[in-house]
Symmetry: C2
Subunit: 335 residues, 2 copies
C-alpha cells in the first residue's frame, strides 16, 4: 500500500509552507546558517542565544514582535577605513559640484579640497567635515538626494581596494542578518551615518527596508514646487545618532528596546548598554577589527572606529567580542 504521506509529498508541503511564510527557518536549522563563521565561541554564543529566545517552550522564549535586533553600519556591516564611506561620498560631491561653485576656490575648507590638498583639509577636523556635509547634503529635495546617492554607490570605488563600496560589506554579517530574520527577528540599522544616505541601498544590500533604518538626520521642509509637493533637505541637524544619540534614535524610530545589539566601536557603547540592560534574555556583540591582512587592524587609538571603553565594558557585561581574524572564514565576497 502506498502511504498517504510519502517523503516527497511532505517535502512539497513543507516548501509551500516556507514559501508562504517568506522565510526558511527549518532549512536554516538543517543547513549551516552561518557558513562563513568558524566554529568558535562567538558563533556558539550567537546560535545559543537565537535558539533560546525562539524555541517554543524555552524558558527564555521571546515573542516574535519583541525580537528586535539593531546593527551599527560603519565597521559592523561594512568597512570604514581609511575613512567613513559617507565622508568619501561628500568629498566626491565637492569635486563634482566645484565647477558650479567658483567661490569654493577661496572659501575654507573647500579651497583645500578643490586644490587637492587633503592634508590641509583634514587638519580642519570635524568642523571642516560638517561644513562639507552641510554643503553637499542639503538644499535639494529628498528625491534628488536619493538619486545622487544611488548614482554614487553604484559607480564609485574604494580608493585603496578599487571595489564598489557595497562590495565591502561583511559576508558573515549578511549571514547573521538573514539567520536572525529566519528566526523571527526584525533587523534594524542604527548608525551614526546619515539616514538618507543609507536608505537608497540598504534594502538591496542588507535586506533592510528604509523604514528599518535609523541614522543621523537633518531637518526637512515641506513645500510646493511648481504645484507639486516636495521635501527640501535643510542644513540644520536634527539628531546625531551616535553614542548617547543611539538609544535616543532607537526610542524615536523603533519605540521599544531591542533584545540584541551589534556594534564595533565606542560609538555603539550606549546602544549596547541600553539594549542589554533590559529584562529577560539580551545579547550584545562587538566586531573587533583584528585582521590587517584581509581587512584592517585597529582599536583603542584609532581615529575612525575607536574601540576602547566598549571593549572594557564587553568583558564586564559578558558581550560577545568577535575577532575578524579568528572567527570569520571569509570577510568580503570574492570579487
Amino acid at each position: 500500500m502506498r502511504p498517504l504521506f510519502n517523503k516527497a509529498f511532505m517535502k512539497t508541503l513543507l516548501y509551500i509552507a516556507l514559501l508562504a511564510s517568506g522565510s526558511a527557518p527549518l532549512l536554516a536549522a538543517e543547513d549551516d546558517p552561518l557558513p562563513s563563521w568558524n566554529d568558535t565561541a562567538s558563533r556558539k554564543a550567537i546560535l545559543a542565544f537565537v535558539e533560546k529566545v525562539s524555541r517554543d517552550g524555552s524558558p527564555d522564549f521571546v515573542p516574535v514582535p519583541e525580537r528586535i535586533a539593531v546593527f551599527d553600519n560603519d565597521g559592523t556591516l561594512w568597512a570604514e577605513q581609511p575613512t567613513y564611506f559617507q565622508i568619501q561620498f561628500a568629498l566626491d560631491r565637492v569635486t563634482a559640484l566645484a565647477p558650479q561653485h567658483p567661490e569654493w576656490k577661496t572659501t575654507e575648507p573647500f579651497n583645500h579640497l578643490v586644490a587637492g590638498n587633503t592634508k590641509a583639509f583634514m587638519a580642519g577636523g570635524e568642523k571642516s567635515l560638517m561644513a562639507v556635509i552641510a554643503a553637499t547634503h542639503a538644499g535639494m529635495t529628498t528625491e534628488e538626494f536619493s538619486k545622487t546617492v544611488n548614482d554614487w554607490i553604484t559607480t564609485a570605488r574604494h580608493p585603496k581596494l578599487g571595489r564598489l563600496y557595497t562590495d565591502l560589506v561583511y559576508v558573515p554579517m549578511l549571514e547573521l542578518l538573514a539567520y536572525l530574520r529566519a528566526n523571527g527577528f526584525k533587523t534594524f540599522i542604527v548608525s551614526g551615518g546619515g539616514i538618507e544616505f543609507m536608505r537608497p541601498w540598504t534594502e538591496r544590500v542588507y535586506g533592510i527596508p528604509p523604514e528599518q533604518v535609523v541614522g543621523s538626520s537633518g531637518k526637512l521642509k515641506f513645500e510646493m514646487r511648481d504645484g507639486k509637493p516636495a521635501l527640501l533637505k535643510l542644513p540644520e541637524v536634527d539628531l546625531i545618532d551616535d553614542k548617547e544619540g543611539k538609544p535616543v534614535g532607537i526610542q524615536l524610530h523603533i519605540g521599544r528596546r531591542p533584545i540584541a545589539a551589534f556594534g564595533n566601536s565606542d560609538g555603539d557603547l550606549q546602544m549596547l548598554q541600553w539594549t542589554t540592560a533590559g529584562t529577560g534574555p539580551r545579547f550584545g556583540l562587538i566586531v573587533r577589527h583584528t585582521d590587517a591582512r584581509r581587512e584592517w587592524e585597529y582599536d583603542r587609538t584609532s581615529n575612525i572606529g575607536k574601540l576602547d571603553k566598549a571593549l572594557d565594558e564587553a568583558k564586564e557585561k559578558n558581550w560577545t567580542v568577535v575577532s575578524m581574524k579568528e572567527d570569520w572564514k571569509t570577510v568580503f565576497r570574492t570579487p
Copy 2:
C-alpha cells in the same frame, strides 16, 4: 478508491500555508473583508484600489514592500470629540499630580484647572495646552511615561459616553486596517498626537506595532540613573507631526512615500497631497463626520478636526470622501 487529495486534506494544507504566512488573504477575499461598510461608492473604491495594486499581472501592480498605507489617528481611527483624547489625558494628569504641585494653585494656566474652571483654562488656547502637555509629559523616563499612559488608557472613561477611550475606535477602520494587511500592506499611524502617547496601546488596539507609529515627538536625553541607562523625556518639542509636519514625519520614520493615505481633517491635507502626488496608483481617503446621532457631526468650522480645505481638494484630486452616516453600518463596537 480514496482520492489522495480529498477536500478536508486540501483545507488542512491551506490552513498550514495561511498560518505560516501569518495572514489570510484568500479567506479575506472569500468572506466579506469589510462587513461594517455599506455597499456604497466608498467601499467600492477601496476594494478596487486594493485589488488593482495587489493582483498579480495587474497593470497597476505594486510590489509588497512599496505597499505603505498611512493613517491619521484622531478622528480617523478613533473619535476626537469633545476634545483630542490626549488633551483629556493631560488634564487628568494635572488633577492627579496637583497634590505634589502646590505652586500650581497660583500658576497660570494650572490654577484654572486646579479650581475646576475649564472655561478660563480653555481661554488660554494652544499656549495653555502646550504648557500642560509639557508639565505632564516630560521630566520622567520613557518607561515611566509609558506606564502612566497604560494606567490611564485602561481605566479612564470618555466624559460624555462613559466608555473606555479604546472603545471609541471605529470598527469599519479596524476592518480596513486588517484588510490592507491581509493584502500585503504595511500600516502606519501618522498622527499629530504624541508618539509616546500612542505606542503603549496601538499594537493591542489596531494591530500596529510601536515601530510603525509616527507622531509628534519631544527631545529625549540618555543618562545613567543608579548605574542603569534611562531615557529622560525633555520638555522641548522635536517634531509637530501635523499639517506640513506629516510628510516630514513620514520621510523621517518611513523613508519612502506611501501609496495610500487616510485622514479626516485639514491637518491631514499635506499627507494626502504628498501621498497622492507620487507616480503609479495612489489612494486618498477622508473620513467625514456626518453622523450626529451615532458619533458627531462637524466639518468646516469645527475647532477640533476642522475639515475645510482638504474637503475642497478631495473633489479636485478625486480622493474618496467617506460619510460616516451613509457608508458605515456600525461606528463603535457594541458595548
